[in-house]
């Protein structure tokens, strides 16, 4: 069962990831826009810190070497997206 805090944290991560992607796409075409880079970096820093909090409390978000695991191996220990109740 996934707790309310876990869901809220995941929602926040999704929001920040979406914003980071949108700014990333903008910067691909406007690489010298200082304000966009500043916003992108701010969002990315917030995103990274939220991901760290999430992974420390609820397990890895990604695997294949991009995230450390505690013992026991946690990647298969999380609910799959379809197991999360609304």
């Amino acid at each position: 069962m996934v707790g309310k805090e876990c869901k809220e944290l995941m929602s926040k991560i999704c929001e920040l990831e979406f914003a980071a992607i949108d700014l990333n796409l903008y910067l691909d075409n406007h690489p010298t826009c200082q304000q966009a880079i500043t916003d992108y970096n701010t969002i990315s820093q917030n995103l990274m810190s939220l991901k760290k909090i999430y992974e420390a409390n609820y397990g890895p978000l990604t695997n294949y070497g991009t995230c450390l695991s505690s013992y026991p191996w946690r990647w298969v220990d999380e609910p799959w997206p379809w197991e999360i109740e609304e």
Partner: protein
């Protein structure tokens, strides 16, 4: 010979199977590459990430064309 005007793909139909047969560009007829024209997008302001995911973009500028549809959707109607 067919030409896709949006993506630079040229192909002949295979005479037997009638399936598209990829051929090198140099062998194709001298068609010009399609060109994409993109309007410059000013960086005026961005909405918050929570608002952006609801709107579908972080840039209010991109929503200018859809304001009427968005208002309709906000009032409970179909956006389209």
């Amino acid at each position: 010979m067919y030409r896709n005007t949006f993506i630079e793909v040229k192909y002949l139909l295979d005479p037997i199977s009638q399936l598209p047969q990829m051929i090198p560009y140099a062998q194709a007829t001298p068609c010009k590459y399609a060109r994409a024209y993109v309007l410059d997008q000013p960086y005026t302001c961005v909405v918050s990430p929570s608002e952006a995911i609801k709107r579908g973009t972080i840039f209010p500028f991109l929503l200018k064309s859809y304001i009427y549809s968005l208002e309709k959707a906000n009032q409970g109607g179909s956006a389209w």
